[in-house]
Structure formats: structure tokens, C-alpha cells
């Protein structure tokens, strides 16, 4: 076997990163689940023969970051090394050994070269349906949330387990799409495998140990250098959010400890009765993501760069929900973890992290039925974002997801997916918390059905009672509001009936401000007023703009002059 130069190893590392991106792209194009194709709710990674992650695709959801890194060890342990054969494909949707809820399937394929096991490929995607109650917060335990598949073989030596497929088909609402998705997962691993073998032939490799050590050494050193450069201290933070029925506090203690950072969730609320609980693997992913963004953003994810970010939580905390807690909407708590972590981190490295933002995605699902008795039904899921928190030197992003990386769907596409009408989807003025840097704006949405349809509205919102808090004197973002166009009240979470002809009126939350509002650059205040990000009232009240200046700005807008 050839000796390899540093240059050759660097080329191989780049290649592996390209391989997993390709693997992920193949999934995006073939998946049936809306959240995969529109929102990038998937992941892909390559591992050495010991199950250590070498590279991972950067996709829409940080929630898979550590989950993917940790999953392989579970697979190797459950399957047993003596049972790993060429042509095998393994599968699970175990929330605790996979990626946090039953809707995510993780598929692992061993990679053989010259008859020897050299590594693994894994990928994860959110599937359309897994039976049970359907996607929502309403289950009391994971048993109600759908079919549970422990780690097992999907295929052995190239032969797919037909019995497994029969059971799957018999338990889900859209069997063809689910089976299509599982094959898509297996195929994307196969694409990665072929590219890996091409690389091993090109560089005359018999195994991946040399390149693995190269990647791990460089990644570990770079990560530890960053951690060592931080103040070596502890700090605590906490944030309270709405929860389902009772408020939930996420408490964090960060310890910067030389070669690692420990995030400890002791003090966090216990599990909720409803399905917003979060397995530790998912909370860990978001804690790690938040820290990496602030400390080591450009270091790619692999076993060595993730290892220094350690996470612990008491068993039974909502961020360490144990089987059989319901976990379908684990993203709600998961998406709030970064803001809680930043509350602590800001005390260690001030001036780096943003103010609080909308946090969790503002998703909702409609179950529409015709009222003429023909029984026509449709399910429509949408992804929407509130405002992000203001940064030390920048305003918060308007109606943009953070920490999630998902995309919204075009409303024209949503209206093709079912008899729904989105009457309004635009920025919500005055919702960004005032500050030297303003919080990002939330958005207004108005949602109804086509004539002759009624619907159940499954709400997945937070920040109704707990808006985003500002930092360094910045004002809070506007809270979520929800109701119907006739004034009927609605709750932030859970399934609620909306009769034919009614619309749901949503105001999605804004991000909080950073720094005192009176320190904001007056030119920026005038620009915000001209654009209508803030009203004349807010310009006067929050930023002290006088009436004459306000009138001058309004006149310039009318005359089309630049501001």
C-alpha cells in the first residue's frame, strides 16, 4: 500500500465531504416526505470500520448532527460484528438510538473493499407517516406515535426482508411512499459506497485508518485550540417557554474545561405529558450546534470535532426523555436549546451570541374535509419562521429559521397540495424587539380552506406567553398570537377545529433586540420606518424619532427618494 503525503490526505478528506453531500442530494431528490425535500430534514455520513464518523453532509437540520455520530455504535452493538456481511443494510427508527422520533428512519450500510469491512455509510430522513396517531403532539406515550422498528436488518447479503416490508406496509397510511423512502435511503448509501471504493482504488488504500487518523487529528486539535482559548470558567443560563399546558424551563450550566466543554441540563423541567419531549441525543445535537456556531463554525462535523462538546442531563428531564415518553414533536424543545445555551455562553464570551429569537419553527398541519359529505380529505403541513434574535453587530434576520435550517414552501405549492388558501404571508411590522440592533421581524399568516371545506388545525407554536428576551438592554420580540377572523380564541399547541368559511389569523413571533434602543443609528431607524419594518408610532416610542423627522421620512417615501 502506498505512503500518502499530507496533500493526498487533504484531497481524500475533501473527497469524503463531497461524497456525503452527494449522498444527501440523492435523498433530497427522491424522498416523498415534504420535510425532506422542502426543508432538508435529512442527513448523511461516512464512518470508519470502528463506526467513527469521518464526514457528515451539512443539511437543513442540526438535529441530526450528533445523532448521526452516535448512531453507528448502537448499530454495531445491536447487529454484532460477526453478523455484518457484504450486501447488508440495517435500519431503525428508534428515537433514542436514532434521531429522536419515530418519523426519522436511519439506514446503515457496511462498506466492503477487497472482502474486508472498511467502513459504513449512514443516512437519515423524515418519512411521510409511521402510523399511530399521525404527526402531532397528542400522544401520551411513544406506543401511540406509530410503529417502532428496533435496529435490525433491512437486507441481508443483498436480500431484502420481505416480512419486514409486509409489517411496515400494514401499519402506515402511505405504504408505497414509505417503502419508496426506505429504498431511497438504501440507494443513497450505495452511491456513497461506490464513490468511496473509487477513492480507495485511486489512492491505493486497503483501509481507512490512515485518512481517519489524519481527519481526527486535525479536527481534534483545531477544536481543542478554540476551546482552550476561551475563559476557563463555568456559567449558568435558563429560559422558560410555553410548553404544552405548563411552562417549561431549560436550565444550562456550561463548564469550559480545557480540552472540552460540558453542557449540563440539571435543573431543567421534567417530561411533559404530551409529545414535545426530547431524547437526549436530539438536545445534545442542538447544544453542540449552538456552541460550534459560536466557537468553531468552520470545523466540519466528525467524531473528533464533536467529541469535545459533551452533554449531560438528568434522566427524565424534558431534554433527556426516556422510553416510553411521547417524542413526536421533539423539535420544539430541541429548537429552544441554543437560546438557553447562549444565555450561559454570553456570560463567558460576551459580544458573540445573539439575543433570543423565535426559536422553534412555527409549523402547522391542516387536516381538511369536505362538508358536502363526499368524504374528500387532505393533509397539508407547512413550515414557517418567526424572527431571529439581533446579533451584537447586526439586526436579527426577518422571518428566518434559527437554529433550524429548514426552508418554507411556496404558498402556490402548498395550495396545490390540498384545498387550502393562504390569504396572507408577509412580514409583521413592529414585531422585532427594539434595540441598538433590532430583532428580526416575525410574520403574519392567514389560513383558510377552499369553499366547502372545514379543517382541524394542528398548532405547533410556542412563545405565546414567553416572547424572546433581549440582551444588553434590547427589548423583547413580539409574542405569538393566534385566533380566528371572527375573534374566536385558539391555543398555541394542539389540534383545533376550524369551521368552513373561517380563517386562522396568525402573528408569528419576532426576535429580540440587542443593546439599548437609544443607541441605534438614527439612519437605520429612518430606513426601518421607510420600509415599514417599524410604524411611525414605534419610531417615536421606541427610538425617540421626532414628529418632524417622521413626516420627512414619509414624504421621501411618497416621492420615491432614497432613504
Amino acid at each position: 500500500m502506498a505512503q500518502h503525503s499530507t496533500v493526498a490526505y487533504q484531497v481524500m478528506w475533501n473527497r469524503l465531504i463531497s461524497v456525503v453531500e452527494e449522498q444527501a442530494q440523492a435523498l433530497v431528490r427522491t424522498a416523498f416526505s415534504t420535510s425532506v425535500r422542502e426543508a432538508g430534514d435529512l442527513s448523511a455520513g461516512v464512518y470508519d470500520s470502528r463506526g467513527r464518523m469521518l464526514a457528515q453532509a451539512v443539511t437543513g437540520t442540526p438535529g441530526h448532527v450528533n445523532a448521526m455520530a452516535d448512531a453507528l455504535a448502537h448499530f454495531i452493538r445491536r447487529i454484532g460484528r460477526e453478523n455484518i456481511f457484504e450486501g447488508d443494510v440495517y435500519i431503525t427508527n428508534d428515537p433514542w438510538e436514532g434521531t429522536g422520533h419515530l418519523h426519522d428512519f436511519t439506514v446503515v450500510t457496511p462498506s466492503f473493499h477487497k472482502g474486508n469491512l472498511v467502513g459504513f455509510f449512514a443516512c437519515t430522513a423524515h418519512v411521510v407517516d409511521i402510523g399511530g396517531r399521525g404527526f402531532g403532539a397528542d400522544a401520551a406515550s411513544v406506543y401511540e406515535e406509530g410503529l417502532y422498528l428496533p435496529i435490525m436488518k433491512f437486507a441481508e447479503r443483498g436480500v431484502v426482508d420481505k416480512t419486514l416490508l409486509h409489517i411496515l406496509r400494514g401499519n402506515v397510511r402511505q405504504p408505497d411512499q414509505l417503502v419508496g423512502d426506505l429504498y431511497a435511503l438504501a440507494t443513497c448509501n450505495e452511491i456513497g459506497h461506490r464513490r468511496l471504493i473509487d477513492m480507495m482504488q485511486e489512492f491505493d488504500l486497503d483501509d481507512l485508518q490512515g485518512i481517519a487518523e489524519f481527519i481526527f487529528e486535525a479536527s481534534r486539535r483545531a477544536t481543542v485550540e478554540r476551546i482552550a482559548a476561551l475563559p476557563q470558567m463555568q456559567a449558568t443560563g435558563a429560559m422558560t417557554v410555553d410548553g404544552f399546558d405548563t411552562p417549561i424551563t431549560i436550565a444550562v450550566k456550561l463548564t469550559i474545561a480545557g480540552d472540552h466543554i460540558l453542557t449540563d441540563f440539571t435543573g431543567t423541567s421534567g417530561v411533559d405529558k404530551k409529545g414535545i419531549n426530547c431524547p437526549l441525543v436530539y438536545a445534545k445535537a442542538y447544544a453542540c450546534y449552538a456552541l460550534k456556531c459560536a466557537i468553531a463554525p468552520e470545523i466540519p462535523n466528525n467524531a473528533a470535532s464533536l467529541e469535545p462538546f459533551r452533554v449531560t442531563a438528568p434522566a427524565g428531564a424534558i431534554v433527556n426523555a426516556l422510553h416510553p415518553a411521547p417524542v413526536a414533536l421533539r423539535h420544539i424543545i430541541g429548537h429552544f436549546v441554543p437560546d438557553a445555551v447562549y444565555d450561559a455562553l454570553d456570560k463567558i464570551i460576551p459580544g458573540v451570541v445573539p439575543a433570543e429569537g423565535a426559536g422553534c419553527l412555527c409549523n402547522f398541519q391542516l387536516s381538511l374535509r369536505s362538508v358536502d359529505g363526499t368524504g374528500a380529505r387532505a393533509e397539508v403541513l407547512t413550515f414557517n419562521s418567526g424572527g431571529a434574535g439581533a446579533r451584537p453587530a447586526h439586526d436579527g434576520l426577518n422571518a428566518t429559521a434559527f437554529p433550524s435550517g429548514v426552508m418554507t414552501m411556496p404558498i402556490e405549492a402548498t395550495e396545490h397540495a390540498g384545498p387550502v388558501i393562504i390569504w396572507r404571508k408577509e412580514l409583521r411590522p413592529d414585531s422585532g424587539g427594539a434595540g441598538a440592533q433590532r430583532g428580526g421581524l416575525g410574520q403574519f399568516m392567514e389560513v383558510g380552506a377552499r369553499e366547502g371545506y372545514e379543517f382541524d388545525f394542528s398548532a405547533m407554536f410556542d412563545r405565546v406567553n414567553h416572547p424572546a428576551r433581549g440582551r444588553r438592554g434590547g427589548a423583547p420580540g413580539a409574542p405569538t398570537t393566534i385566533g380566528q377572523d371572527n375573534g374566536a380564541e385558539m391555543r398555541g399547541k394542539g389540534k383545533q377545529f376550524v369551521p368552513a368559511g373561517r380563517r386562522v389569523m396568525l402573528a408569528l413571533p419576532g426576535g429580540a433586540g440587542y443593546g439599548e434602543a437609544n443607541a441605534r443609528d438614527p439612519a437605520t431607524v429612518k430606513r426601518d420606518l421607510a420600509r415599514g419594518y417599524i410604524s411611525a408610532g414605534a419610531a417615536a416610542r421606541d427610538y425617540g424619532l421626532d414628529a418632524a423627522t417622521i413626516a420627512e421620512v414619509q414624504a421621501k417615501v411618497r416621492k420615491g427618494e432614497e432613504i
Binding site: 463531497s18 416523498f32 408505497d176 483545531a222 418554507t408 412580514l427 420600509r531
Partner: protein, 692 residues
């Protein structure tokens, strides 16, 4: 005497002009004159006319492509433009996809929309997803908005209403009212500019069109005037992003279709060479000073797409620009060129680009104050470039400056000598380009080992050989005139126009009569554009639909024959879709309905007949002009390479790698794994060397 034709490509730095007369070609490069781009054209035209011994008045046809439209979008130099949109959707072009294109940057800012919020007006109206009117439009409300637009002094207006691709009545009504009240204001409506589903892409496209329309209209008018002053009476046509040409009037109406016309010309250039060699699978590789572009050319036709992104603001990252949904040649562009700069990252890995040294200060070896190593510096230290014969000896390159930059920025951090740092830099940039090509091929279900590469652009021949090694590509052609490839490509393009529209149809609701009428309508629309350019030539129609399994978000293009289009059969449509799906993704999905989402008809004049190259055998007679030390990355060491002047090669002359074939415009590297021969048309043909 045959028609004398002139191709003109206005690029960011140079304006390339090529004149063809009786099969002979005369070309020049002049600096682009930003303030009045027509001046460079006139200058270049006079030069090539002098070379060819003709008068401007003898020119029979001019084909023009330009980066002006793209640059106006990138530099935000468009007109004062307003948008009129559906009430409730004022912020579609600002809210984008509600996502961050870079996940780990806490200080990320998204690109500003082309129009700030106060320039976006709304009217109460609504069409639903079936095309039915839910809320009728009130003319009086439009009139009130028109008055606001007049007061604010907007000169161009874009109209983008929800679901207008299904029912354009409201958009047309807005245009009527504006025409009555504001006759001097230019109006663009989304149902004409880009009748495709997905409001963000469509609105952004119509806004971009409106934004650059006054500028392009005025430029094209001035150009025509200047040409007339010079005695040029012939017609001027414009290259569009889809790889065909349209009339100057159509271009002025739909200037957004001119975006990326230069690179499209490059792809047509490569497609023409593919046709001359009878190659059905070609990868075109164009590498200049700041970017590299890669395009798949199957059956001598560049692959097309219906949406692309311009003006990327963040390291060429997907999502950091603005989407434009028009028919376009599908290209991957990455930030890798001769001027791309290298640095060492936190993992002590070499990173190259997308930051570029540009022409000022340029790479360190230009001796104009550049202190950071660029790709060109690595090429020089590795012996791929001759310091004394760069750009035809126009100026000497400073090897010591390259070495110093490589050592200071890379070598010191990594403990490498200049040569090893140069090797690392070149390998990283080549690997980046190879990865982009691999990903693009996989996305299209193609295996590059079956492909031939055609390389052009100043830096491509220096890197193409190594790319072929990395990609397992067996054959590489480097055509002559590679420095002005786009302008030559313009002269090879047919008149063409693609009309498309989003209309959803499930195969379970297959409606042959509706399909026939829809495609006939699109065909008529597309043919009209072509007919306005050429009243007599036959016009061919290419039919295409985009299909997917119901529930998927990604459609695949399916080519239809005229018979499929005019006598549609559901079983045939399904079979065509399944065959392509299996090719792309390995396996069909059983039990699911299939739907058609977009319909397209491309009307085109027949491709110009090509003279097939009679390929010659290797007769092994190349006479080297000397030798030089050159690094061979596959071997990992410096070797002695023969130096051959391209101008000295006759058809059949061959040389084995390691070798360099030099000319004024560029240098072709022949790796030790390859042998090069000169074909009768001047192409240098590199194939895998037979084992000795």
C-alpha cells in the same frame, strides 16, 4: 461569398470579437468600456474588419452576448423599479425561503431584495390554484397605486400576482391601467416573463426583468445607432441564456433572458465541437480568472434547466444569490480560476478560492503587489507556465514572488517548501473542480468515465489534464480559439426560444385534448419569437415535460417527440418517465401516481450543418522546441517535459506526456499519463497513453 458574420461577447474584463468570412476566422480582445459598452464593440469590429480586409458595411449578421444584464443585477445598477403584487404578499421577494444558506455563521446576512419594501405595492385580488378568481381586481385600486407610482417617479414596474401562471387576466389588467395612466413607464408581467409556479422565483424573475429593462433597452438602442453610424446595416441578434439567439426587440422586452448569455455561448461552442467529432457525451470545462464552469453536453446539446441563481453573494454558495426562472443552459459555477487565492484554515488544510486576486493586483507573480499565492502562482512554480512566455511574452512572470507568497502563506504554516505548497494548492483547486463535476454528473445520473472533456478559457488547458485523471475521463479536446470560445459559440447558435408554463396534471387525470392544446399554444408562442428572426428557415419544435411521483418535490425533465405531444398517450408518458427515473435513481416506485408539473416547447431553427472532422492517426512527428522541469501530480514528482509550440503542430503530430504545448493565449499541459495529437481542425486531442 458566404455571409460575413460577427460574434461579440462583452465580458467583465474583455470584449471578444470574432469575425468569420469564407470559413476563416479573425478575432480580437479589447477592454470592456463600462460607461458605453458599444464603444468596445465598434473598436473590436474595426480591428477584425481590418484583419479580414472587409468593411463594416460588408458584415451580414451580428450575434451579440453580454454580461451587462448580469452585472447590472450584481452591482444593483438597475432602474428605479416598483412591484405590484397581491395583497398579503408584499414581502415574497424579501422573505425568500426563510432559511439561512450557511448554517454555522451567526453573523450571516441575507442578500437585500432588488426592491426595498417601500417600492412594493399591493392590490386586493386573488386567483386560486385552479386558476379561478376568488377576489376580483378593482381597476380603481390599480389606478390609485398607479398614482402613487407616478408621484414616486418609478420608471419601470414589475407585476407579480399569486397563481398568475394559471390565469394572467389580473396581471394584464394591471398593465392596461398602467399603460393608460403612465404611458412612459415600462411594465413587465410575471405571466409573460416567467409563467412558472413558485411565487418567490417568479416574482424575483419579473422584478429582475423590470429592473434591467430600461438599461438594456437604452443600451441596445444606442448600439444599433452606433453600428448604423459605422455603416453597418445588418440585423443584430442577441444570445440568450438558453443557448439560442433572439431578435433585438425580444431581448429588449425580456432582458432577463440575456443573463448568463456569455457562458451559454461557451457551451454552444463546445457542443459544436462535439458535433464535429460525433461525440454524444461531453463535459465542457471553462476556467478563467475567477471561476470555472462545467456543463454536460449530451447528444451535442447542452443540458438545460428552468431555474438558476445569479449574483451569489457568499462564496458562490447555493442560496446566496437570487433565483431566476427562465430556460437556461445548466452549468455548475465554482470559485476556482487562475486568480483564486489560497490560505490555510483552522485544520491546517489548504483552501483555495473563491476569493480572487482579480487583475489588480493579480497573482503574486504579476509583480503588482500581490502577496498571497494564487492558482497561477502554483502553476508557475510547478513548471506548467513559462515565466518568460506568458500571454505571448507580453510580460514576464516573477517566479521568486510566487515562491515567496507560497512559502509565506502556506509553507510556513504547514512546514512545506514552495514546490510542495504549490502542489498542494493545485491539487486542492483541481479536486474542488473535480468534485463539482462529479456531483453534477451524479445529479444527472451520468457516469463521467464515458465522457470526453472539451476545455477552453485561459486557465482550463493548464488544469484539464489533471481533472481528466481525477475523473477517469479518457479523452480531452482543447480546441483552437479557446480564448474567445463564447463569441465563436454565438456564431454556432440557432435561432431559438423556449416557452414554458406550470400546469399540474396527474396521469390519473390524463387529458389528451388539453395536452395537445396546451403544447400547441406554447409551440405557437415559441415559434413566433423564432419567426421574427428568420422568416424562411424551417422551425423545429422540441417538446419537454417535467414529471415526478405525486408527493415528490423534484421533477425530472422528459423529452417528448412531436408524436407524443400531438397524440398524447398516457402509457407512453408513464413509460418515458419510469425509464428516466430508473436511470437517475436506480429504481421505480410502484403503486404511486405520477404528475406533470411544467410543460415546455423549444422552437429552434435546425442546428448548423457541421463539417465532420476526419480524425487523423498519430504519426508521431512533433518537434519539441525544448525541455523544462514540470511537476506531475499523478507521479508526485518533477519530470522533464518536452515543450512544443502549438503553431508548429501539423495534423497527426503527436507528443507524449509529460509535455507542454504552448501558444499565446494559453498552455496545454499533457500529463505523463496522456498522449496528445493534433487533429486537422487544430484541436489538441489528449488520450490515455498506451502502456509502454
Amino acid at each position: 461569398m458566404s455571409l460575413i458574420r460577427m460574434g461579440v461577447d462583452i465580458g467583465g474584463t474583455f470584449t471578444d470579437v470574432v469575425l468569420e468570412k469564407d470559413g476563416q476566422s479573425f478575432s480580437t480582445k479589447v477592454l470592456t468600456t463600462y460607461a458605453a459598452p458599444e464603444n468596445a464593440i465598434i473598436d473590436g469590429m474595426q480591428q477584425v474588419c481590418a484583419k479580414a480586409g472587409v468593411l463594416p458595411g460588408d458584415i451580414g449578421q451580428i450575434i451579440h452576448g453580454t454580461t451587462l444584464a448580469t452585472n447590472a443585477l450584481i452591482e444593483r445598477r438597475g432602474a428605479k423599479t416598483a412591484l405590484i403584487t397581491t395583497q398579503g404578499f408584499r414581502d415574497v421577494i424579501e422573505m425568500r425561503t426563510e432559511s439561512r444558506f450557511e448554517q454555522y455563521d451567526l453573523n450571516l446576512n441575507l442578500p437585500e431584495p432588488l426592491l426595498p419594501r417601500q417600492s412594493r405595492f399591493t392590490v386586493a385580488e386573488r386567483v386560486d390554484a385552479t386558476g379561478a378568481v376568488l377576489v376580483p381586481l378593482d381597476r380603481a385600486e390599480v389606478a390609485a397605486v398607479a398614482d402613487q407610482i407616478a408621484e414616486a417617479g418609478y420608471t419601470s414596474v414589475a407585476v407579480g400576482l399569486i397563481h398568475s401562471y394559471l390565469n394572467a387576466a389580473h396581471e394584464r389588467m394591471v398593465r392596461e391601467v398602467l399603460a393608460e395612466r403612465l404611458p412612459d413607464v415600462m411594465v413587465s408581467i410575471s405571466a409573460e416573463v416567467s409563467p412558472q409556479m413558485r411565487e418567490y422565483e417568479r416574482f424575483n424573475t419579473v422584478v429582475a426583468n423590470a429592473y434591467i429593462k430600461p438599461l438594456m433597452k437604452s443600451y441596445l438602442g444606442r448600439l444599433r445607432g452606433r453600428l448604423q453610424e459605422e455603416g453597418v446595416g445588418c440585423a443584430v441578434f442577441l444570445m440568450h441564456s438558453g443557448g439560442g439567439i433572439i431578435s433585438i426587440e425580444s431581448a429588449a422586452e425580456f432582458p432577463v433572458r440575456l443573463v448568463e448569455s456569455g457562458p451559454a455561448g461557451g457551451a454552444v461552442f463546445a457542443a459544436n465541437i462535439a458535433a464535429r467529432y460525433g461525440l454524444d457525451k461531453v463535459l465542457s470545462f471553462d476556467m478563467g480568472g475567477t471561476t470555472a464552469k462545467i456543463c454536460l453536453i449530451k447528444n451535442q446539446t447542452p443540458k438545460t434547466a428552468r431555474v438558476f441563481e445569479v449574483a451569489r453573494t457568499y462564496r458562490f454558495k447555493k442560496g446566496s444569490g437570487m433565483p431566476i426562472s427562465i430556460p437556461v443552459i445548466d452549468m455548475v459555477e465554482i470559485g476556482a480560476g487562475g486568480g483564486s487565492l489560497a490560505h490555510v484554515d483552522a485544520m491546517r488544510q489548504i483552501r483555495v478560492g473563491p476569493e480572487s486576486a482579480g487583475s489588480e493586483p493579480g497573482p503574486a507573480c504579476y509583480g503588482r503587489g500581490g502577496l498571497r499565492p494564487a492558482v497561477t502562482d502554483a502553476d508557475l512554480v510547478l513548471g506548467k507556465l513559462d515565466p518568460d512566455n506568458f500571454a505571448g511574452g507580453a510580460f514576464a512572470l516573477d517566479v521568486a514572488a510566487s515562491r515567496a507568497a507560497l512559502e509565506a502563506v502556506l509553507g510556513d504554516a504547514l512546514g512545506m517548501e514552495a514546490e510542495e505548497a504549490a502542489f498542494g494548492l493545485a491539487e486542492v483547486v483541481d479536486e474542488n473542480m473535480a468534485n463539482a463535476a462529479r456531483v453534477h454528473a451524479v445529479e444527472n445520473g451520468e457516469d463521467l468515465s464515458e465522457y470526453t472533456m472539451i476545455a477552453f478559457g485561459g486557465a482550463a488547458p493548464l488544469h484539464a489534464g489533471r481533472l481528466c485523471e481525477k475523473l477517469g475521463v479518457q479523452r480531452l479536446l482543447v480546441p483552437p480559439g479557446a480564448g474567445v470560445g463564447s463569441a465563436i459559440g454565438f456564431l454556432r447558435a440557432p435561432f431559438s426560444f423556449e416557452a414554458n408554463r406550470s400546469v399540474y396534471m396527474k396521469l390519473s387525470d390524463f387529458d389528451p385534448a388539453r395536452i395537445k392544446s396546451l403544447l400547441t399554444e406554447l409551440q405557437a408562442e415559441a415559434r413566433e419569437f423564432v419567426r421574427s428572426c428568420d422568416a424562411t428557415s424551417p422551425v423545429l419544435s422540441e417538446f419537454k415535460v417535467y414529471m415526478r411521483y405525486t408527493g415528490q418535490g423534484w421533477e425530472i425533465p422528459i423529452a417528448l417527440t412531436e408524436a407524443h405531444a400531438m397524440t398524447p398517450d398516457v402509457a407512453e408518458f408513464e413509460a418515458l418517465f419510469e425509464a428516466d427515473y430508473v436511470k437517475l435513481f436506480g429504481r421505480a416506485v410502484t403503486g404511486l401516481d405520477v404528475e406533470i408539473t411544467v410543460w415546455a416547447v423549444n422552437a429552434t431553427t435546425p442546428r448548423q450543418a457541421v463539417e465532420k472532422v476526419v480524425e487523423v492517426q498519430d504519426s508521431g512527428r512533433a518537434l519539441p522546441s525544448g525541455n523544462r522541469r514540470m511537476f506531475d501530480p499523478a507521479k508526485g514528482s518533477f519530470l522533464s517535459a518536452q515543450v512544443v509550440l502549438r503553431s508548429s503542430l501539423a495534423p497527426g503530430d503527436g507528443v507524449s506526456g509529460p509535455a507542454v504545448i504552448t501558444e499565446d493565449e494559453t498552455t496545454i499541459i499533457v500529463p505523463s499519463s496522456r498522449r496528445a495529437i493534433c487533429q486537422p481542425d487544430g484541436c489538441i486531442d489528449l488520450t490515455v497513453a498506451q502502456e509502454a
